[in-house]
Amino acid sequence: MTADQIIFLLCAMLILGSALMVVITRKLIHAALWLVATLFGVAILYAILQAGFLAVVQVVVYIGAIAVLFIFAVMLTRREMLDKGVQTRSTWWLPAILGVLILTGLVFIIIGQPAFGRSAGEIPASVDTLRNLGAALVSPDAYVLPFEVASILLLAALVGAVYVASGNKK
């Protein structure tokens, strides 16, 4: 077991454990914070995968914005009885079974595929992933269109969210 495998396993445990806690814990705030832990785990994973930019972006976007949004949302919709009752639906066992089935199915498929077994190749020093990423995002022949569309999407979401949440009492 090499060091990075250990680190990976630790990180995997962190992610899965906190993910489970997100899903299981009764108090919603804790769920949100566990989500933050999961996201942090995923960021570390990206770091392991040498996708530094993504790791930091993950932290900035997810933890900085989305998690905070979640916490805001939880606080805005506070009501005393909310966290009292059982948080999961009465028929929670059905999704559990489904989840397990899907997991075993996927795992079965992943293991079945030899191609997935190979280990990662070394990134040649010449390749500067960040620069390539920047270039890919804005060069016309690569992904400038999806990039622009994404920006428009964000704008629309921004306007929409403001309009819906503001509850304009006309």
Partner: protein
């Protein structure tokens, strides 16, 4: 590579040989070395923090035309320790109904979010945590952790005022993040890289502050807002919500918050220095001159950097203790209606000019960039004055109107 010019690698190499010698596996040794490095950095930061407490109290006193702590030890040097001991001795109360886990996690995260920053702070060309190629973004990411800590603190203390204070603080930080991120792009554009080392090297010729002073000003303002200090420190606004989110904290937890805040301020001072004042370098090419080659020595660079950082910190304190508090909606309006648009304009301007003026020699390039910023500044001032005049006129005739009404009413 001896100790003087590359201390960290030297030490790590030494340690590696030591540990491998002990038969540890390679991965394990690197893990241990990294660990030791991190602890040393943290210890350095915390000691610096204590010093800052003293500096803070002295400088604030001087601003307020008073002496500051001078009773304990010469010039009150022991005062920080006294404070720390006081905090430690204080009874540690956790409010009833508080969310134990979050309540305790709050202060820890506060300190964590600051210390994380030190990972990328370039003390000198050789002495630094890690040279991330996305350091600038890392700075913003760290900010996110800060937000989380404040929310946890506010929420967990089960106190309406704490929660409200946390909300306001978070709203403030998040909204000021936008202009900060936009402005951070400017040094990235100028230095063609997000890595702090590259930015510093890039500034050896010309400080970015000179190239885009507006960016500096906007960064300064958003940094202060990020810190939640002075004009924007509404969370501790006694008049409004007693003591903000850390109202329920007492004893060492409050101490952690307080220390975190101070260190955060200093760190941002450091970043201002790195991004706009050339960081540990920036001697306008001076260090290339034979005489001043000692300027390249890591330790000297470290001292230069710390001096610049202290200057940045001083500026922040200066603003803190001289500016009145701004109301929360003014603050937000100021940000969204004035600061963000201005930042975008400056960014666009820098992006375009950096490409357009690329051909010019260094001073021409700098001059063009500087003057463009001046022009933008003047235009904004003009717009502001027009807006103000209109506002006053509206209020003016309003008052005239009301007076008129009163005459008629009588």
């Amino acid at each position: 590579m001896n100790f003087l010019n590359d201390p960290i690698n030297f030490i790590s190499g030494w340690m590696r040989d030591l540990l491998t010698g002990w038969g540890l596996s390679n991965g394990l040794t690197t893990a241990i070395i990294y660990f030791i490095g991190i602890t040393v950095l943290i210890i350095f930061a915390m000691t610096l923090d204590i010093i800052l407490v003293w500096v803070e109290r002295k400088v604030v006193a001087r601003f307020q035309d008073r002496l500051g702590p001078n009773r304990i030890g010469p010039f009150g040097l022991i005062q920080p320790f006294a404070d720390i001991i006081k905090l430690v001795i204080k009874e540690d109360i956790t409010p009833a109904g508080a969310d134990k886990l979050l309540y305790n996690l709050g202060p820890v995260l506060a300190i964590a979010s600051v210390i994380i920053l030190w990972a990328i702070l370039p003390l000198s060309s050789k002495i630094f945590g890690v040279d991330l190629n996305v350091a600038v973004l890392y700075l913003v990411a760290a900010g996110a952790l800060g937000t989380l800590s404040i929310i946890m603190g506010g929420w967990a203390s089960n106190n309406k005022y704490a929660l409200l204070g946390a909300f306001r603080m978070v709203a403030n930080m998040i909204s000021y993040e936008i202009p900060m991120v936009v402005v951070l792009l400017i040094p990235t554009i100028l230095a063609n890289s997000m890595s702090v080392q590259d930015i510093t090297q890039a500034q050896s010729g010309m400080w970015f502050a000179i190239l885009s002073p507006l960016a500096l000003i906007i960064f300064l303002i958003s940094a202060i807002a990020e810190l939640g200090r002075s004009p924007f420190d509404l969370n501790e606004a006694e008049s409004e919500i007693v003591a903000g989110f850390h109202i329920e904290y007492s004893g060492m937890k409050f101490g952690l918050f307080y220390a975190g805040e101070l260190l955060h301020a200093f760190t941002f001072g450091g970043f201002i220095a790195v991004l706009f004042f050339g960081g540990y370098g920036g001697f306008f090419g001076l260090e290339k001159v034979g005489l001043f080659s000692w300027l390249n020595n890591p330790f000297v660079q470290a001292v230069v950097f710390l001096a610049k950082a202290m200057f940045g910190y001083w500026v922040i304190m200066w603003i803190k203790y001289s500016m009145p508090r701004i109301r929360i909606d003014h603050m937000l309006a100021f940000n969204w209606k004035f600061l963000t648009p201005l930042a975008l304009v400056v960014l666009v301007n820098t992006a375009i000019l950096s490409k357009v003026l690329a051909g010019l020699p260094n001073w021409g390039y700098a001059l063009g960039m500087f003057f463009s910023n001046i022009v933008i500044g003047l235009i904004t001032i003009e717009i502001l004055r027009a807006y103000g005049r209109k506002q006053r006129k509206a209020e003016g005739n309003l008052t005239l109107q009301s007076a008129h009404n009163q005459e008629q009413a009588v």
